[in-house]
């Protein structure tokens, strides 16, 4: 307990957790989270990387028509990948919601406006990508405008991951929650930008591999679409992209690790991350062989490259999770203790409610006590003895109804509308007959 206290500074909030059991064993939820997140992020990578490459190819296409065709072909994949990215995002969202309820929602709320802006921003970016795709032939003569449409979509696509990363980062640091004021200040926490660059690079690397496969598929009639450039040329470019991006990750990766706050860094994390990096090495070697070897052999080791890279991605995603669970373990424990203590207090209070609730029972002997109690709970917010509160004073009621008990009861059950400048009184059909008798008895006794 003591070392935990020193780990967390005194301003750290320790909220209570949702006091309901997890729907599945925790390890299973973790597996679901990691796997479903991978599926989601894969398509996010393809959507982002695809739109960046489309932009690049289309600009290049201004001079060389073949690249314009390439841009069109890549653009067709974006709109499909983006739909998959969204639907596949719901499962990890659900899982992180159950596993890290307090952490995730707290981070969301603290960056709330930007967080909810994801919805209109992504919608806008999606609409722009459709516009870009379906207006391709109409805007043939207005390439500048056409490229600008895509450019805007790309800018939005580049910004969205920053919002997600800021949240995912903020949720790891409850000790910072008290100091954060809005999105920008959360963005400024260390580690957001290195992680962001790490992610961008991964997007390019993965998109390179995807397009390598996509253009080389047997069912894809490459030659009928492209006249001046060869499949080999494109595939070589895609391998080079993936290789270059992977090399760069060897610079960014350590940077991410260094800027991570030390609280979650333990041996298990280092082992997982290093294994992930190691798995990428043979893949990079095979890609290099493909690029520098004979044209017809370029696709030879593709299956092996994919296997090794998948392993890397899986290990990196697990590393992410290991850091998260290391970093939050002490805080989670405090939270569990607090939740338990609170549940116990709450149960006790339920067993012995506050004294005032019994007061009415105690005062049985005073005349009209029961009726007065009914009046206090139901009517006192709007009526007092003398003078107007919300409704007229009790003395006025007495003057109207002293000879008309049924009229009074009828009004209480279903009030009409009499006085111009008063609001509508709500009805009380839920009062039992006994309560009603006591209530009216009390009202008419007021002098």
């Amino acid at each position: 307990m003591n070392h935990m206290l020193t780990l967390l500074q005194s301003v750290t909030p320790v909220p209570r957790d949702i006091p309901l059991p997890l729907p599945l064993p925790e390890w299973l939820l973790v597996v679901l989270l990691v796997i479903s997140f991978l599926a989601h992020i894969l398509f996010v990578n393809l959507m982002l990387g695809g739109s960046l490459l489309t932009l690049w190819a289309q600009v290049k296409g201004l001079k060389d028509k073949a690249y314009d065709t390439l841009a069109y072909e890549i653009a067709k994949t974006i709109t499909v990948n983006k739909s998959l990215a969204v639907v596949l995002g719901v499962a990890p969202l659900l899982s992180i919601n159950v596993l890290y309820t307090v952490y995730f929602y707290s981070a969301n709320a603290l960056t709330g406006l930007m967080w909810i802006s994801i919805i209109p921003l992504v919608t806008a970016a999606f609409l722009l990508t459709y516009l870009h795709k379906y207006a391709w032939h109409k805007l043939e003569e207005h390439k500048g405008l056409h490229i600008a449409i895509l450019g805007l979509a790309v800018l939005i696509f580049l910004f969205i991951p920053l919002i997600f990363l800021t949240n995912i980062n903020l949720m790891l640091f409850p000790e910072k929650w008290g100091t954060v004021k809005g999105f920008v200040s959360a963005l400024a926490l260390p580690n957001v930008f290195p992680r962001y660059l790490h992610f961008l690079c991964a997007s390019l690397a993965i998109t390179g591999l995807f397009l390598f496969w996509y253009f080389g598929r047997r069912r894809y009639a490459f030659e009928t679409r492209f006249e001046t450039i060869s499949l080999y040329h494109i595939r070589k470019r895609m391998y080079s992209l993936t290789l270059g991006a992977s090399l760069f990750q060897f610079v960014l990766g350590p940077l991410v690790l260094i800027t991570l706050p030390s609280k979650g860094i333990q041996w298990n994390l280092i082992v997982v991350i290093l294994s992930g990096a190691a798995a990428a090495l043979p893949a990079m070697y095979w890609m290099w062989q493909g690029i520098s070897g004979k044209p017809e052999d370029i696709g030879k080791n593709f299956g092996k490259v994919i296997t090794a890279m998948s392993l890397t991605v899986l290990l990196m995603a697990s590393g992410r999770h290991v850091y998260r669970s290391n970093a939050l373990a002490p805080h989670k424990k405090l939270m569990a203790e607090k939740t338990k203590a609170f549940e116990k207090l709450s149960a006790e209070a339920r067993a012995q409610p506050a004294p005032e609730e019994n007061a009415t029972a105690a005062a049985k002997d005073i005349p009209h006590a029961a009726g007065k109690a009914v009046f206090q709970t139901n009517c006192a917010s709007c009526h007092k003895k003398d003078g107007r509160l919300v409704g007229p004073p009790v003395t006025e009621m007495v003057s109207i109804y002293h000879n008309d008990l049924p009229g009074l009861e009828a009004w209480i059950r279903k009030p009409g509308k009499k006085r111009e400048d008063y609001p509508q009184m709500p009805g009380f059909p839920q009062l039992s007959g006994q309560e009603m008798t006591a209530l009216t008895g009390y009202i008419l006794s007021v002098k």
């Binding site: 206290l5 309901l20 499909v80 639907v87 929602y105 967080w115 709450s346 006790e348 709500p426 009805g427």
Partner: protein, 485 residues
């Protein structure tokens, strides 16, 4: 309580969820559930109308394809994103309730998600393979069959969502059995489903007609036929929708009674409920008039003539959604958690020891004469801010002024006298959770708001104050008191 409170002081928090959810329902009903069968039907018609040598009539087919394209683009952008937006906004505004619901319904939502994924994949296949399928009759017929299959699938997805909604409105069951079955046996489940189905069909039809007026020019070959088909579709479903609306309308107060133990006594509900009496015949007859008119004189139909009933029909659904929301107040989870995100079972503790004592985020854990305003603000944030703003929509100053006279200075004592009993007369509000000192701090804060016109920033801009009396170093004492008692 345990979450930083996101708060929109100008818009009102509930409004954000409502807007996103209603847009989503519009798209789901009007452009998926009700639209795809309409499109599949018309696509099939094209094949039937084609000459013996053709697979389909190319011009007709292209018109239907363009309609589907609009639905495809909207459902996969705004439709999908508002679906995710419901999660996002609920997580921001109602974290404790959505967090609790997910724990219990994780599995149901997982299944729901699987159907959602399937639906999106199917829509993509249906739309993106449309042109390819025009190459052979066999492929075209398969494509049409696929359209019908997709229609059934969207409808099933809707059935599941309605059940989840139904569950969240049904009280007792939460405490007894945490199972989704009770969503299906909820008294308004069937009336709701029965209402939504034909209404979605009507919406799909009106929307489709609107697109016809846009895509088929006045002298094009198929404009009249397409308009008349739209009219037939609508005239076929509108009477069913009317009958279903009446049944649903009648079933609603029943559900209210079951849920609230008190009667349908609230003003606001009564207002909306009354409104329905005009909206139902109004919207339906507009649609019918349009249908009959188009049937008789298709040539004279203009875009604006379709636009008006189209808006009316969507408004019709919108009002129903609004009324449905009432059935849930004052609970977010019937019988378990109030709309202010506090659990019913914790009320005795809060009332005895104070709400702020256990708040994670507050300026202090105890009210003192010096901190009365800041703690009053904390109490407001925790117990009223989910439904009231300080000076915006449904502002707390406005609702009190409406009681005690607009523009008149509020009397702190009257305010304090009103609050502990407010849930009796105004059953859509949860009871006040705090102790007496907190009550007076809240009253002082409300009075202060009236005088200064101050606004209240949520955690998204102002950040949070970690309650110094209930965190970190105090965890241990809290645990101790639990043991010593």
């Amino acid at each position: 309580m345990d979450f930083p409170m996101f708060h929109l002081d100008w818009l009102n928090d509930r409004f954000l969820i409502a807007v996103i959810a209603i847009v989503h329902v519009f798209i789901n009903h009007g452009l998926a559930v009700g639209f795809i069968p309409y499109i599949a039907w018309l696509e099939q018609k094209g094949v039937r109308m084609a000459g013996a040598a053709d697979i389909t009539d190319p011009e007709w087919d292209h018109l239907i394809y363009r309609k589907m394209k609009v639905a495809f683009i909207i459902t996969t952008t705004l439709g999908a994103m508002t679906g995710v937006g419901i999660w996002f906004s609920a997580g921001l505004i109602s974290p404790s309730s959505i967090g609790s619901l997910i724990r219990v319904f994780y599995f149901a939502w997982f299944v729901e998600w699987l159907t959602f994924v399937t639906e999106v994949v199917l829509i993509m296949i249906y739309f993106l393979t449309w042109k390819q399928s025009n190459h052979s009759l066999k492929a075209k017929i398969r494509h049409i069959r696929f359209g019908w299959f997709l229609s059934i699938f969207s409808w099933i997805t809707m059935c599941i969502i309605v059940s989840i909604l139904g569950f969240m409105m049904d009280p007792g069951n939460w405490n007894n059995d945490h199972s989704l079955i009770s969503g299906f046996t909820n008294p308004i489940y069937l009336p709701q489903l029965f209402f939504r189905t034909p209404t979605a069909m009507v919406l799909g039809g009106v929307f489709g007609m609107l697109l016809t007026t846009l895509f088929a020019s006045r002298n094009s070959k198929w404009r009249e036929t397409a308009l008349k088909d739209g009219a037939r579709w609508m005239l076929c479903w509108a009477p069913v929708s009317l009958a279903a609306a009446i049944i649903y309308y009648k079933a609603m107060p029943e559900a209210m009674r079951e849920n609230l133990s008190t009667a349908v006594g609230t003003m606001e509900f009564a207002q909306y409920y009354d409104l329905l009496r005009y909206i139902i015949p109004g919207a339906v007859s507009l649609v019918v008039v349009l249908g009959v008119w188009t049937w008789l004189r298709p040539r004279s139909v203009r875009m604006w003539m379709v636009l008006v009933p189209c808006i009316a029909a969507f408004g019709f659904l919108g009002i129903f959604e609004r009324v449905r929301e009432f059935i849930r107040k004052p609970y977010v989870i019937g019988g378990y958690m109030y709309s202010n995100l506090l659990r019913k079972e914790d009320y005795p503790l809060y009332k005895r020891n104070g709400l702020l004592t256990y708040a994670t985020y507050a300026t202090a854990g105890k009210v003192t004469p010096e901190n009365k305003l800041s703690t009053g603000q904390d109490v407001f944030m925790l117990s009223c801010s989910r439904c009231h703003t300080t000076n915006g929509i449904n502002s707390i100053v406005y609702v009190f002024e409406r009681l005690y006279g607009v523009g008149k200075p509020l009397d702190e004592n009257s305010v304090a006298a009103y609050i502990p009993n407010m849930h009796q007369g105004r059953t859509y509000m949860p009871p006040f959770p705090g102790n007496t000192e907190e009550l007076h701090a809240l009253a002082a804060y409300i009075k202060h708001l009236q005088v200064t016109g101050e606004s209240l920033e949520g955690a998204q801009s102002a950040g949070v104050m970690v309650n110094p009396d209930n965190n970190m170093h105090n965890t241990q004492p809290l645990a101790d008191t639990a043991q010593s008692k």
